[in-house]
């Protein structure tokens, strides 16, 4: 059959069909109830044969020559942009071929299989979470499967030489943990929230601890609010030294009164109570969580000390309270969250100042994210945060938040203090189940800070 004959057949068929229109069994009506004209070209005649309905084998219609994607004037209009973007086009072409090659070699499924297999072998490899200003880091963990998670060991390290080691043995509610932390480039700006950025000093801390813990979770299966009680006891050894940053004043020069170089040995014991009734996906959107804790830092007996302390430690009690609550509305949750944290530290001997690493601190992820990490240090702190999280699109949500708070010698000083404020936004890629990470921008009177997290957002 020639092209013209086919075309003519189709046209005649369509024209013949016109009178048969409008005889649909379920005449459609617009949602608002307004009728509309229906025009169909279906024939009302005998069924087409399977040969008619099969794909053609005839040479297809084609123009005499290949038709360009764009008309000449369009090509001319695009020419400058195309020339300017040639490097990008080249990069795109390389990416295209690279990705295709990667897919042909099954690199992604292979990686997925290997990454998925590692936990089964008791190996955990993830990004490190060592805190702010610690550089890029990785975490390597071992959990021998034959011990059924009774023994866990992990090591984290970063490009700025921060490191953390943990070894934990557990049986039921009981656990025994060993930890070692090396934080070489911490910052101190002085005590109180009146401290100045000009007085920056750098310090390093080396902390070792052994801790016997007990944790018990109530009502996990009964549908009540899960309540967890934890208690711990164990020796801790901490040394504060001058920081390892060349261009920043060492702590011993900048703040000789809180100077480092002294090892403090403590016996630490404490208890905490946590109730967590948060729920919702992809981010927790309803419910609340509250935690109360008290921790005593006393002088250890010689038997329990990890090292010989060169001087008697400052003994103190740390009280802590944290609470957060959220409400949400609509199907893809728009969530308003409120959070607050209070730390109250009381030295056993009035007037004694804690080691700089034991002071309460704000700035960065500790609170007031628009300020540098560790920007404010003092005995006590109080900080509050309000966030609004709303969906941007199917795979993104946005977080707008504001924080206010400060550090104080005693919490009573909070009455007269002007709180420091910080504001921020975060873009959070998400799946239907959870946020995958976040890209943050926070700002305050002093600084603008950009950061990102991979996992561990909630």
């Amino acid at each position: 059959m020639t092209r013209n004959a086919l075309l003519a057949g189709a046209l005649v068929g369509a024209l013949l069909a016109a009178p048969a229109l409008g005889s649909m069994p379920d005449t459609p009506v617009a949602r608002g109830g307004a009728p509309f004209i229906v025009a169909l070209a279906d024939t009302g005649g005998a069924a087409a044969t399977s040969r008619d309905l099969g794909p053609t084998t005839a040479p297809p219609w084609n123009p005499p020559h290949a038709v360009p994607s764009a008309e000449p004037w369009e090509q001319a209009a695009r020419l400058p942009g195309r020339v300017v973007s040639l490097p990008l086009s080249l990069l795109g072409s390389l990416t295209r071929h690279g990705l295709l090659s990667m897919e042909e070699k099954h690199l992604v499924p292979r990686t997925v299989v290997i990454v998925a297999a590692l936990p089964r072998l008791g190996i955990i490899v993830t990004p490190a979470s060592l805190g702010d200003r610690t550089g890029l880091g990785g975490r390597f963990g071992l959990t021998p499967p034959f011990l059924k998670r009774a023994l866990e060991a992990e090591w984290s390290g970063s490009t700025r030489h921060y490191s953390r080691t943990r070894v934990r043995a557990s049986q039921g509610a009981l656990s025994l943990e060993y930890g070692y932390d090396w934080r070489p480039e911490e910052r101190f700006y002085g005590l109180s929230d009146g401290s100045s950025q000009k007085d920056t000093a750098s310090f390093a801390t080396q902390t070792t601890f052994v801790r016997l813990g007990l944790a018990y979770r109530f009502a996990a299966e009964t549908g009540h609010v899960p309540l967890e009680v934890r208690a711990w006891i164990g020796p801790r050894s901490q040394v504060v030294r001058d920081g390892r940053e060349d261009h920043v004043t060492p702590l011993s020069v900048g703040f000789p009164s809180v100077s480092g170089g002294v090892r403090q040995e403590h016996l630490v014991y404490g208890v905490s109570l946590e109730a967590d009734a948060r729920r919702g996906r992809p981010h927790w959107s309803r419910g609340a969580r509250a935690e109360l804790s008290v921790e005593q830092f006393t002088s250890p007996t010689r038997l329990l000390a990890l090292n010989d302390g060169s001087m008697a430690p400052v003994q103190f009690t740390r009280w802590g309270a944290k609470a957060e609550a959220g409400i949400s509305f609509w199907r893809d949750p728009r969530t308003i969250r409120f959070a607050g944290r209070i730390v109250n530290q009381v030295a056993d001997v009035a007037g004694q100042t804690l080691a700089v690493a034991d002071l309460a601190q704000l700035g960065g992820s500790q609170g007031l994210a628009g300020y540098e990490p560790g920007r404010f240090h003092d005995m006590d702190l109080m900080v509050g945060k309000v966030s609004y999280i709303f969906p941007l699109a199917q795979h993104y949500e946005f977080d707008i938040h504001a924080e206010a708070g400060g550090v104080f010698e005693t919490l009573r000083d909070a009455h007269d203090a002007t709180p420091k404020t910080s504001y921020g936004v975060a873009l959070r890629p998400r799946t239907a189940l959870a946020p995958l990470g976040s890209i943050n921008l926070d700002w305050s009177r002093e600084s603008v800070r950009f950061g990102f997290h991979l996992g561990g957002v909630e």
């Binding site: 092209r3 009506v29 053609t56 123009p63 038709v67 994607s69 695009r78 040639l86 295209r96 699109a393």
Partner: protein
Amino acid sequence: MIHRIGAACTFAWCVTIALGPSTAQSAGSRHVPPRTTDISYYYDLADNSVFRPITRVTDPALGIRKLMRHPRQALNVDEHDQVRLPSTWWQPRLGYRTVTPQQIKTGPGPGTGPVAGRWKVTRAKTQGVTPGFFIKDQAGESFIIKFDPPRQAEMATAADVVASHLFWAAGYNVPDNSIVRFQREDLDIATDGTFTDELGRKQPLTQEVLDRVLSRVAQNVDGSYRGMASRLLKGKPLGPFEYRGRRTDDPEDLVPHEHRRELRGMWPICAWVNHADCRGPNSLDLWVTAGGRSFVRHHLIDFGSCLGSAAVAARSPQTGSEYFVDYGVIARSLLTLGLARSGWEETVDPELPSIGFIEGFDFDPGSWRPDYPNPAFDERTTRDIVWGTRIVAAFTEEHIRAAVELAHYTDPRATEYLVQVLIQRRNLLMSRWLSTTPTATAPFEP
């Protein structure tokens, strides 16, 4: 002097590259198949979600066209605004010829699936989230067998069969898909059977591997398995086609794909059946020898992510309302702090696991979107949409029911629900796009 010549050569090269292959002439008629091509899934996603939208926003030519309200119309249409025939992409069926419900059930034919009896498994796929295998039945016909995700029994297989028959009736070239049931004992392993392991290596296929594949698949109470059998298309596979550009080495491919009516006009059909996964990688060109000649025939394949199915899970309610990366939705949400409520948030989940998520009440026929932008859909004009909508409008309830019955849903509510949803969506499409069209064949302005 050398510098001047160099500069001239560089300029000429830049112009050549900038103008691209679009001005290249056809390769001339010949009887050798075009080269095999492939599309990177990741690049296709990134290109269409990020790079191409940016290019379009900054495209002065497109800006001028929008300003002048003068979009480029499809290039392969006649004076009646119909596809110039013959076409190796599309064949006039419903809307142009009388197609009976029985013919829809037969589809590309024969629609019978593999011959019952013992099947030889020739290849298995164990990696990825969707297991499956290739079989050869006793008549020597080859099929690929695909399965449902365990928690959504019947969903993906049903979608694959129903949508492929609807697309066939709409005129497109599709494989012959049907629902099959079989017992483990029906399967033998071909002597040269292979499988691709988790690391992408080909290994000899064994009974243990086959059992492992079936262990990831829902089993019926009587011990049988339900699958979707897709008859392998005849011809030499040339890889997927792209929804823009041309196969420059195919002398019969002289119209840029994004300007083909069959592809632009597929948008309302995809919107109707919620084929959000309509993208280059889900197509297949075949080098076919038939009717005394060899040529490229263009097929749509893989309909497992149509209707309420996302192949491995139910479709999310956002499907069809938003691209994966939807700048318009993002901008609106940012400007309103998320207080502009999306239409999909009003939708009601049918709570039918075999359906997944598709509904007809809140379907917006004016702004349906696939998972990520499709170059041909981006070029669509009202004429293209009306062309496709007329085809959708030609589906009567009997046609729709015939296709849906091919799903063999265990739950009769699922059959009824899907029929009603497809009718609702068809009606909404018609009310949106055909209300001002006086006749089917008269030419009209956009």
